[in-house]
Amino acid sequence: MSIWEYANPKKFMQTSARVLPWLVALTTAFLAVGLVWAFFFTPDDYKQGATVKIMFLHVPAAMMAINAWIMMLVASLIWIVRRHHVSALAARAAAPVGLTFTAIALVTGALWGQPMWGTWWAWDPRLTSFLILALFYLGYMALWAAVENPDTAADLTSVLCIVGSVFALLSRYAVKFWNQGLHQDSTILKVGEKDPLDPAYYLPLVVCILGTVLLFVTLVLVRTRTEIRARRLAALLARERSA
């Protein structure tokens, strides 16, 4: 019994079908509790007022925007090394989800920045690197869509994902060098240090983050199942045509 058994598409479909309802329920529960708690039962900030609550969407989305790319990188490496099709399809399935999280982070950030910083957009390192990350997602998805042979597409996008990861990291440091930041530092891991996140916000934020992680896993599973079905359908059609 090893984890690679789940690389078998049949086994993957069976297991994911059994897990999915539970995942959906858990995701809904976490997001509902977290967001309702965050929006209605946390105090307003003394400076930011109610806009502080944008954080409960912004921070989880921004975290998942990066984590989705890391997950794609791992899946791409697994595809290159072990040639498991499910892995390549999971990477493909994760890209639009990651792009959506990036867009959510950018838009909620702009909505928060307008009243707080007095501007929708600033060429701040964090903001700029997120915009660049969105471009990487777009290029990755465009390459998947452009190549016809599925195995060639999986190979090329995997190579692109690996090279892109290096350059995304480089860009992150380059933009830090290029401009001073307006964006505040993260305070989530500052418990016990000076200037920590207030406990009243801490727990609902953690619930929201967990809910977003679950949402990502659920969406990627659903999308991967769709990709596998699409692949099977294509194989059936090809067989029918040749018969």
Partner: protein, 218 residues
């Protein structure tokens, strides 16, 4: 490898090779920007480093799609792949040839355009130096993008979508060297980082590009 380099150079400079097209494009960018921004010397001088770097980058991008496409179509790429020379070496030679016909002339021509854009006098030397150091990275990264998209029928637009985000670090450090050089600030750090990107890209990306070519030739 040298034979391949000479062949590519010859193909580029002869009629229809597109040599000079990039240069003309670079010149056009430098002419169009003042027309759009307005002729005030102060403004132009301040944005000149960025304009010249973006212009060089776009001029470089312009000739990328023919880097492997012609050889892919007429089958010489298959021959290169089966030749005793490793494909990585062939990629490196082709990227070098691309740099010799685009990046190098761009760097040498850039002071003239610096005059057009009213770049402060202290910046000329650093403009040439930064372009000399940085444009090889543009060629190598572009070779990777061209290798990924070589099998596609209309890969040109996709190529720019893939390659331009990869150009971000090079552009930032390159323009920063010129800006700091022109104003007399400390420029050793961005110059060293720019050189590091070029060296790293030249050392590693031919492997990724060769892998992509092999996938496309399969």
């Amino acid at each position: 490898m040298i034979a391949l380099l000479v062949r590519d150079l010859r193909l580029a400079v002869r009629a229809g090779g597109g040599f000079g097209l990039g240069l003309a494009f670079f010149l056009l960018v430098a002419v169009l920007v003042p027309l759009g921004v307005g002729p005030e010397g102060g403004t132009l001088g301040r944005i000149a480093p960025g304009i010249l770097w973006v212009g060089a980058l776009l001029a470089c991008l312009l000739s990328l799609d023919r880097l492997f496409a012609l050889d892919f179509e007429d089958g010489s790429l298959d021959l290169l792949a089966t030749a005793p020379l490793p494909l990585e070496g062939a990629v490196a030679a082709k990227a070098l040839a691309h740099w010799l016909v685009t990046g190098l002339p761009l760097a040498l021509l850039s002071p003239v355009l610096g005059i057009l854009l009213n770049l402060p006098a202290a910046g000329y030397l650093w403009l040439v130096v930064s372009l000399l150091v940085g444009t090889p990275a543009l060629s190598v990264i572009g070779a990777f993008g061209a290798a990924v998209t070589v099998g596609l029928k209309r890969g040109g637009l996709l190529l720019s979508l893939l390659v331009l985000p990869l150009y971000v670090p090079t552009l930032i450090f390159g323009a920063e060297v010129v800006k700091r050089g022109a104003t007399g600030a400390e420029f050793a750090t961005p110059l060293a980082l720019l050189a590091a990107i070029t060296a790293g890209a030249a050392a590693l990306l031919p492997f990724a590009a060769a892998a992509a070519l092999r996938i496309n030739l399969r």
